[in-house]
Amino acid sequence: MNRTDDRPHLTRAHSLELLKQMIRISRFEDKCAELYTQEKIRGFLHLYDGEEAVAVGVIPVLEQRDRVVAAYREHGHALVRGMSMKAALAEMYGKREGCSGGRGGSMHLFDRATNFYGGNAIVGGGLPLAIGLALADRMRGEKRVTACFFGEGAAAEGEFHESMNLAALWSLPVLFVCENNLYAMGTALAISESETDIHAKAACYRLASEAVDGMDVVAVEAAARRAVHAVRETVKPYFLECRTYRFRAHSMFDAQLYRDKAEVEAWRKKGPIVRFQGWLEQNKMIHPEDVARIEAEVAAELAEAVAFAEAGTWEPVEQLTRYTYAETAN
């Protein structure tokens, strides 16, 4: 594969697709927040608002055979990976038709069909899992890439450091994607880390490592292409720090006492959707009717998802303990 092929081809069709995927996540989550206030969705709900460029920039670069491990702010990753909005929303309703049979909820979206391994709500907990998936692939000589997404808060966990070391030591095909949104819940990076440059931590473990503007979907995709290509060809890990920002609260229970409204507003102006859409408009690559069409398509998909989730069924209580263990013992 030629190095130049790593660059995104910003055709009109591709640009529209990137924009659509980001809008899709955004509208889906707006609806989730609304449904949360209506108590259709309960538990914790962590929204990705502001960080859409990361999942949209990285995940479509992966192939079908590749694997994805995500954390608990993973609605966007699941949707971009190919999970239907219906299955995701039904899961958040706790319905049997959800992607995890309703057992996981917002934080535990799983999808075998797309090699989507959750949905892990223990910060840093998904990294060793990604190590193991990649170890299996390496031992069998399968050229898959495991993309592992986590926030910068995970860098404070021992599992982060153990996993960086193992990935480099054993030469494992993992693409680590750190979504650095500057806050671990309410704790700012600067008051929790002695070294705030996260990608430098990975470099200490001899990983190829780079930081990219996570608010720029084109930059993220370009970096992801380089990274995925490198992982697949070298069978070595790669670390991509995407510098981004979370526009909304950590979860629906967060009063956001730890940051100024002005800070949020300043970041909103550089939001990935507004920025990319504006750039496309300025360059006459899209027309107002394109956006209207995307909005209409997404609205239709969303309406269908809500109807599906509403019509979903509850797992009978008699099946409460089902799948604690496999049903067919060998």
């Binding site: 049979g101 604690t324 496999a326």
Partner: protein
């Protein structure tokens, strides 16, 4: 005893060698199997279980790890989900606490939480128990904690046959299985059928049949309990000894069959008494066989103290044969 029809050849070996043979057998049978843990390769295993396997199977399948219990246990989980059959060795149960997040929050939850889309066919082996004066960070018996967790299975091989046979069955299980090997058993030597192979992992075993009292135990305490049963026999007390073998799930049927026959029970458990596996078994007997009991249930557990270093204090902290004898006699009103 009538002569056996075809006496099978036996070999003399230690518990350690039986575990090693089980690992070797699994590695030969299934290319998906590999062993991973601290010092399992070049060092030969902290308790010398894997000695020689590196030369035979190479560093990919006898994989030395850094001191990253959470990392390599999680790696075992991921590899299992991806279709491998890893055996993760954790040096001692105390160190397994550093991997508890992965065991409890991932291995035990993934099947249920994912709606049965992903399972974790992983085996985690670790040394447990006291008796080598290793003090309060290498001597505990925390298998009862693990037996608390739905989603995993917990085994305690106490015999050569189980040390040899449980591993393969555990590897064939579609869910995570933890195997606890008591450190005082590794040097135990005995005869084993040369063709010994896989054994079932879902039933308790009656190691000594008796009429007067049920002594219920597992792991390293089995042999102390059998010794106690012999001492009781000298006093005309016919004790039945139950080896639980599986701590999760517990084989209630075998326990209740024994207790309803003997009408008395003492539970011997090297874990601490409070909130222990012994407490769970006691409760189940009370729930299921209360009206068959003729006496309160006795418990012989470790004293509620971090296991101390000096031999006399370590011995005093642990269940010992005289304590088991005394508890049995108390249950029989013969103290």
């Amino acid at each position: 005893m009538p002569a056996a029809t075809a006496p099978s050849a036996t070999i003399e070996l230690t518990y350690r060698e039986a575990v090693r043979e089980a690992i070797r057998d699994a590695l030969k049978r299934d290319p998906r199997v590999f062993l991973m843990g601290e010092d399992v390769g070049r060092y030969g295993g902290c308790y010398a279980v894997s000695k020689g396997l590196l030369a035979e199977f190479g560093p990919e399948r006898i994989r030395d790890t850094p001191l990253s219990e959470s990392g390599f246990t999680g790696a075992g989980i991921g590899a299992a989900i991806a279709g491998m059959r890893p055996i993760v060795e954790v040096m001692t149960v105390n160190f397994s606490l550093l991997a508890l997040d992965q065991i409890l929050n991932t291995a035990a939850t993934v099947r249920h939480m994912s709606g049965n889309q992903f399972g974790v066919p992983l085996v985690i082996r670790m040394a447990t128990g006291a008796g080598r004066q290793l003090a309060a960070q290498h001597s505990h018996s925390l298998e009862g904690w693990y037996a608390h967790i739905p989603g995993i299975k917990v085994l305690a091989p106490a015999t050569l046959e189980d040390a040899r046979g449980m591993l393969w069955t555990a590897l064939e299980d579609p869910d995570p299985v933890l195997i606890f090997e008591h450190i005082m058993l590794y040097n135990m030597s005995g005869k084993l059928a040369a063709d010994a192979g896989p054994v079932g992992i879902d039933k308790a075993a009656v190691r000594r049949a008796g009429r007067d009292i049920s002594l219920i135990t597992y792991g390293g305490s089995l042999w102390k309990t059998i010794e106690a049963a012999s001492a009781l026999a000298a006093e005309n007390i016919d004790a039945e000894v139950i080896d639980l073998r599986s701590l999760r799930p517990l084989d209630d049927a075998t326990i209740m069959a024994s207790v309803t026959k003997t009408r008395r029970a003492v539970i011997v458990d090297e874990g601490w008494r409070s909130g222990s596996l012994a407490a769970e078994i006691c409760t189940r007997i009370v729930e299921q066989a209360f009206f068959d009991l003729d006496a309160p249930i006795g418990r012989v557990c470790s004293e509620e103290v971090p296991i101390p270093y000096p031999r006399h204090l370590e011995e005093a902290a642990l269940p010992q044969t005289p304590k088991i004898v005394a508890a049995a006699k108390a249950a029989l009103g013969r103290a």
